[in-house]
């Protein structure tokens, strides 16, 4: 699905990712864990084309995307929910969703009813200004906005950051259900261990701009020494 080979990227002269390689399997939820500053968000932004690739290759579903502009990467099926959600606070919920529909016009968009079926609160509050939503509701909106473009793969950057625990679990369960129903591949950057246990099939541990270890979720459930080593929890 997603194959990254010898990727180097960063900000200006400072490289955050050096010789980074990894493969993300299709139809699975892969969690990327690691302490702050290890390059997880940089990786997400680089995949989306928001940070220029210095060298290396990113193959997504058979297409080399490392030189494509961001909107093009989005249109060929890469959905992105950025850290901090970045919803358009002054726009209504419906307008936030419409933007993504317009961005993917002519593509493989999902009917809005499908989105409302998954997240009924968005239908109830379609005309409400998105800025009045709670953090959790904004996160749901950001996820729905990415899903409406009919992505093959969804990048989620710290979706539980600053959200109350009860909603974290709901979001995890709903994403898990959507991934199972639609075969959507998900790459999620997450610090919240409960979220990872609810959602992920496989876990990658990242340190100093490279993948140090990978394991499946069963291994992690039985033995949390990896969590201690890479997250110090």
């Amino acid at each position: 699905m997603l194959e990254i080979e010898n990727l180097a990227a960063g900000y200006g002269e400072a490289l955050v990712l050096r010789d980074f390689s990894c493969r993300i399997a299709p139809g699975k939820v892969t969690a990327l864990m690691g302490r702050n500053g290890m390059g997880k968000t940089t990786l997400m932004k680089t995949i989306m084309g928001l940070i220029r690739v210095k060298s290396g290759r990113i193959m997504f579903d058979g297409t080399a995307i490392e030189k494509l502009p961001t909107h093009h990467i989005s249109r060929i099926g890469m959905g992105y929910v950025p850290q901090g959600r970045e919803i358009f606070a002054d726009f209504t919920v419906a307008e936030n969703l419409r933007l993504s529909l317009l961005g993917h016009e002519g593509g493989n968009v999902l009917p809005i009813e499908q989105i409302y079926d998954w997240f009924p609160i968005l239908k109830e509050r379609a005309e409400q200004r998105a800025g009045t939503f709670s953090g959790g509701q904004q996160q749901i909106l950001a996820i729905a906005r990415a899903l409406i473009g009919g992505p093959k793969m969804l990048l989620l950057d710290e979706p539980t950051e600053g959200i109350q625990p009860s909603i974290v679990h709901d979001i995890g369960a709903q994403l898990s259900r959507i991934a199972r129903e639609t075969g959507l591949s998900i790459l999620i950057v997450e610090q919240n261990v409960d979220m990872v246990r609810t959602l992920a099939d496989e876990v990658l541990f990242m340190e100093n701009g490279a993948i140090q270890e990978r394991c499946d979720i069963e291994t992690l459930r039985q033995d949390d020494s990896l969590l201690h080593r890479y997250l110090s929890v």
Partner: protein
Amino acid sequence: MSELIPIILDVSSYILILVLVALGLMIVFGMMGVINMAHGELFMIGAYVMVAAQNLGLPFLAGIILAPIIVGFLGLLIEAALIRHIYLRPLDTILATWGLSIALKQLVVLTFGPESHSVALPVDGSLELGAFSYPLYRLILMAASILLIGGTFWLFTRTDFGLLARAVIARPNTAASLGIDTRRMYRWSFVIGTALAGLAGALVAPIISVDPQMGLGYLVPGFLSILVGGAGPLAGVLVGGAVVGGVNNLLAVWISPVAALITVYIIAILIIRLKPEGIMGGRRAK
């Protein structure tokens, strides 16, 4: 009272033209961070399209239709050749577009000569109401300006294009990751901004003297309007244009043009000092 009405109408028509010019400037600045010093020259070229149309014997309306098309097309060329390379680098845009403004001015001097031209009024009559009399074309000009300002507001607040444009202004990266081609939005917004300037120049041509230096007289108050009103919401331009244009014109009539300009700058400095974001607020924090 009957002496006051023409003054109020004069001031209003100046404000409306100023707002039209400033709207184009603000679309380009608010959206792309491009400070377009050549905006005044695009306005001037709009007026020269009217001069050329008149010389060719074309009807007035043909000039009004041609001006935004020609100037908009010029905007497209400028975007592709120059602006595209310097988006979101305000200082570079000042230099590059300032150079462009000099080049455009010289091009007009070479084509039409340095002297001023006049464009005949398409309608001669005046509106007479008792003792009150006012040139009909100035009323038409005001109505056309109001329609254009309203149309621009409608485009940016009520249509899909406007929704996309406002999204690109607020969060360009997020908009791009939703599949929105931000470069394309920048390009067409720039073209709309320049076409507006061209149309404003064409509309105002019959009531001013058309010369190669005329752009500056609208560029500077146009920028002041944005600074005073705030570059965030579109309504800022209305307020800024009203303050700058109103004070400038009223004092020019009552005291002197020099006193008017001094007062406008003092007011602008005070407002910018007390409310750096402008009266209506600036670009929202990201």
